[in-house]
Symmetry: C2
Subunit: 259 residues, 2 copies
DNA sequence: GGGTATTTGTCCGTATGTATT
DNA sequence: AAATACATACGGACAAATACC
């Protein structure tokens, strides 16, 4: 046996999917039918299907069947801001990028919390661990598909000093928090750093994005800095890898995005 | 049964790993022992372990046992070139970044091929599909751990014109291909665009990186442009997500890397 | 709403193969 | 060569989710 049987079955089905014999959205034969087609036991068929789900080629729905996944048209985020536009709020950038591509973006109103951050958050925002921070959490959708989960963290003294009370208000800031902080506190964000990682989703992310436990999500930490190189904000965004890609432009790179 | 049994067992083992009760590198009890510990069948134990492998928490070795994975110290690549350094070869950047972190980098000598590129490669390099291109492929290691797979593509006329013959020589160019092209052909790369995606590894990548089929790799397409905004090269690099992270600096961001 | 058929999910037991020590 | 440990494959039983009448 060169290849295990479940692997051969998975490959055969994968080829049928790639050639279009099984179209996107189409239902695969049921486990019982596949069992007869391939003359294998149901468990072996199930192993083959598990292989395909972990490749992201099919999805199973209890009580209904197994279906070829609809490939989602990926949304591309430009991490390096357009210099002509200057550094603006991420949400404004997000909304304009999406509308440029003729798709409909939507954000939830922020959920504002006072938290004691995890060690990683505290380290990146450079506050002492054990102190409190303000967190603002938003969900983002494109064409009503859940697209990303974003949480921004700010040092607690921004509100305890009385200077930036609107950080605690559960409302979106259309001009962006960055420009609000400049108006209210004189803090200028002169640059930022994105730290890009990938991992498997936790259970919250699995249910929000409706992805399986062995899918992949990007986790991007964006730290904004003022002129003294002090972090003024940290934004952590989770993007499912099946519907998100990123662009970094350096030097003279043409067009906004496409050739 | 709120949670399925295999899930509870997986969670219990995961907690023991996170708390350090099962140290990195340690061997888990064998399937037979776990079966007695949890009073479950061997198949159920195996389902729990599959869950942990897909999380990347453990790895199984036939004939030996199941082991807590040694977390690899991730290597961080800066995608936005340091402006003081200017735009130099990726390999030079790679070697210097690694040596700055006191780790040992190594590259294989390039494997040079003439290929008819796939549609995606042709589109990104903006050559007509069906025409030939030069490809140069290298494997990169850090401390002898396989770290990335890189393939660069160049338009065929760079050598058919007789101007850049060294592109066909299977030798690393320590100063970088970019500066060679400038010397030899007068082509200046004035900028580049990185396009960042993530996916599961193909079988080549699985065996080279020694990762499982449901791991994740970053696939980064770097297109270099000359002053006419014409692509002069395309570099595709595969990075396993368990040992690679990326940084993008925009505006004034402090330090090279760490706070 | 309820009942039934269909389909996938979980769990068990067993046998045999393959890799490593 | 033998023992150990994981990998593959079979079969069966019941549960849970969904669709349909």
């Amino acid at each position: 046996m060169a290849q295990p049987m479940y692997q051969q079955i998975a490959d055969d089905l994968r080829i049928k999917i790639e050639t279009g014999e099984l179209a996107p959205g189409a239902q695969l034969p049921t486990e019982l039918e596949l069992r007869e087609n391939y003359n294998a036991s149901r468990n072996t068929i199930r192993d083959a299907i598990k292989r395909l789900t972990s490749l992201g080629a099919v999805e199973t729905k209890p009580g209904q069947g197994t279906f070829v996944v609809q490939k989602i048209d990926p949304f591309v985020t430009i991490l390096t801001d357009d210099p002509k536009r200057g550094i603006v709020g991420e949400n404004a950038t997000y909304l304009s990028e999406v509308s440029e591509s003729h798709r409909e973006a939507r954000l939830t109103t922020p959920r504002v919390e006072i938290q004691v951050p995890s060690g990683e958050i505290a380290r990146r925002l450079r506050v002492e661990s054990g102190t409190q921070v303000i967190s603002r959490h938003q969900q983002r959708f494109i064409d009503e598909i859940p697209w990303s989960l974003q949480t921004s963290y700010y040092p607690m003294e921004f509100v305890t000093s009385g200077k930036a009370p609107r950080l605690l208000i559960a409302e979106d800031m259309p001009d962006g928090v960055v420009s609000y902080l400049e108006e209210a506190m004189g803090i200028r964000q002169v640059g930022y750093r994105d730290w890009i990682t990938a991992r498997t989703p936790d259970s919250n992310e699995q249910s929000f994005f409706r992805i399986s436990h062995d899918a992949t999500v990007f986790e991007i930490f964006r730290t904004g800095f003022d002129e003294d190189a002090t972090p003024v904000r940290l934004t952590v965004t989770i993007f499912p890898a099946d519907r998100n890609q990123f662009i970094v432009n350096v030097g003279k790179a043409p067009g906004p995005q496409y050739e």
